[in-house]
């Protein structure tokens, strides 16, 4: 009996351990491959100059610039709207079947494939609102895609704040908004921001939503306003990896681009972790 139990424990433990190794192993292999093949092409010129000779030479600066810009537009939509929606849903809305339905819909929206958002963005922003294929259209499309994630992450964060903080503040003569502003939001903010930034990082790496809404194959100039088209890292990578007429020749540059993209997303995620850690400590 005791033997059977300890054998089961042994097997269970190793099953868990192997799963972790598998996940980490694949990830490590992927990173290793990208770094090994991409690190060689990364230099100052690669990061600061536009592509030349049909992308076979030069850098990827316009794509870096475009991705940063479009991510900012995404942030401007997704951060405030996502947080306010979460505050409303969690703190103000009556909890009934209707709000449950809304919450369920939001959860479902976060599972909608990004190409669907892309096509929706074409109809709504490019055509209906006449923003054209532009940074604005692409950023808003990515923003819509990110919203379900920010709303959900923000609401989860609000839920972790004990009801006693709200009641305690009310019992001292605080208005509901005062209680939320001074005794709920400060403690929920680290979690809200982390979830939001993770959502942004995901958006920054997407191709499908920007492909038809504003990202360009190649542009001679940097965009001058939000209504211009732009180049973006994931789209640039997609082109070099699959659409280029001389794929073999641009392969090293494609790996370099992949490395820069992964690096940027890693940087965003790291920001989220550091931010959360800092804010937590300040509150202690």
């Amino acid at each position: 009996m005791i033997r059977r139990k300890s054998v089961a424990q042994f097997l269970g433990f190793w099953a868990l351990r192997l799963s972790v190794w598998l996940v980490l192993g694949v990830l490590a292999l992927l990173l290793y491959d990208i770094i090994r093949r991409g690190a060689g092409v990364i230099n100052w010129e690669f990061l600061t100059k536009p592509p030349r000779r049909g992308m076979t030479e030069g850098g990827i600066f316009p794509a870096i610039f475009g991705t940063l810009l479009v991510t900012m537009v995404t942030a401007v939509l997704a951060i405030p709207v996502g947080m306010f929606a979460a505050i409303y849903l969690n703190e103000y809305a009556r909890q009934n079947r209707f709000t449950r339905l809304i919450r369920l819909s939001i959860r479902n929206l976060s599972g909608v494939p990004s190409i669907v958002y892309g096509l929706f963005g074409v109809i709504l922003f490019v055509n209906l609102l006449k923003f054209g294929t532009s940074i604005l259209s692409a950023g808003l499309t990515l923003g819509l895609m990110t919203l379900p994630w920010t709303v959900t992450a923000s609401e989860e964060s609000l839920k972790t704040i004990p009801a006693a903080y709200r009641e305690g503040a009310l019992a001292l003569g605080a208005t509901k908004w005062q209680a939320i502003r001074t005794n709920v939001l400060p403690y929920a903010l680290p979690g809200m921001l982390t979830g939001t930034i993770l959502g942004l990082a995901r958006a920054a790496g997407e191709t499908a939503p920007i492909m038809f809404t504003g990202a360009a194959f190649s542009l001679p100039f940097l965009p001058k306003s939000l209504s211009d088209q732009f180049m973006a890292l994931p789209y640039h990578l997609y082109i070099m990896a699959t659409q280029h007429h001389d794929i073999a020749k641009v392969r090293p540059l494609a790996y370099g681009t992949a490395l820069v993209l992964v690096g940027m997303i890693f940087g965003l995620n790291l920001t989220a972790v550091v931010l959360r850690y800092r804010l937590r400590r300040r509150r202690r």
């Binding site: 006693a164 305690g168 001292l172 005794n183």
Partner: protein
């Protein structure tokens, strides 16, 4: 009873959805005294004191009938702002609930939300309130520390100081000692006794000895109904109702 009543319930009924929790309660708490609410668990003690500062307003699906008078004025009157009411009728909860802020910021919280910004004034009130709550000597050198660093009993006294800082007229205690140790309990009881010189105190407790020790008047509740109300000595030595006697001698509950 000769004392003037500070806060009183008249024909008070309360419902959670369709659940009838308080049934026609008539109860007047005399000014500047301690009124204890006793009764078996689930009889509606917490519900009752939460109606006194309209804390139940924030619970969805509740309904209240009857009246609650503070200094003779109906607290549900449209002219009565629930926010202002809660400043006048403070509350200390069962589980100590310090905010994750410094000791100073905890006590200053109520003043700040009411617009007080002057540093000197805040310091003055924080010290006064902590002294009243018999906590000053233990924390005066660590006001900047997080309130979570305090022991459970200290946290509860901090919550009392926080409630006192906004100068309420009535203070409601909902089983304030059920989550702290016996020594801390003795200090809180001592404190409650001293508060009645300035405040009207209503305390819920399921501890009979505590009610006998700290209160001037005692109300006994059963299944949402008031069984008996009177001065504490009478309730504990010569109760009128048989049920009261059985409860306080520990035959049930």
């Amino acid at each position: 009873m000769t004392a003037r009543s500070k806060i009183e319930a008249r024909k008070l009924d309360f419902f959670y959805g369709s659940k009838h929790v308080l049934k026609g309660l008539d109860l007047a708490c005399p000014e500047k005294s301690v009124t204890a609410i006793i009764g078996p668990s689930g009889c509606g003690k917490s519900t009752f004191i939460r109606t006194l500062n309209r804390m139940n307003d924030v619970v969805a699906g509740t309904r209240l009938a009857g009246r609650i008078l503070l200094d003779g004025a109906d607290i549900h009157d449209p002219e009565m702002d629930p926010v202002e009411l809660r400043r006048r009728v403070g509350m200390v909860f069962q589980k100590p609930n310090p905010f994750p802020k410094s000791i100073f910021d905890n006590v200053a919280y109520g003043l700040r939300i009411n617009g007080e910004r002057r540093r000197g004034r805040l310091e003055e009130v924080v010290e006064k309130s902590l002294r009243e709550a018999a906590l000053w000597d233990e924390v005066k050198d660590r006001l900047r520390e997080n309130a979570f660093a305090l022991s459970g009993g200290q946290q509860q006294r901090l919550c009392i100081a926080r409630a006192l800082a906004v100068r309420p007229e009535v203070i409601l205690f909902d089983e304030p000692c059920s989550a702290i140790d016996p020594i801390a309990t003795a200090r809180v009881e001592d404190l409650i006794q001293r508060l009645k010189t300035e405040y009207t105190v209503v305390i819920v407790t399921h501890n009979m000895q505590q009610a006998a020790r700290v209160s001037d008047y005692t109300a006994f509740l059963m299944l949402g109904e008031l069984v008996e109300f009177g001065d504490t000595k009478t309730i504990f030595t010569a109760p009128v109702r048989k049920m009261t006697e059985e409860y306080i001698t520990g035959r049930f509950g």
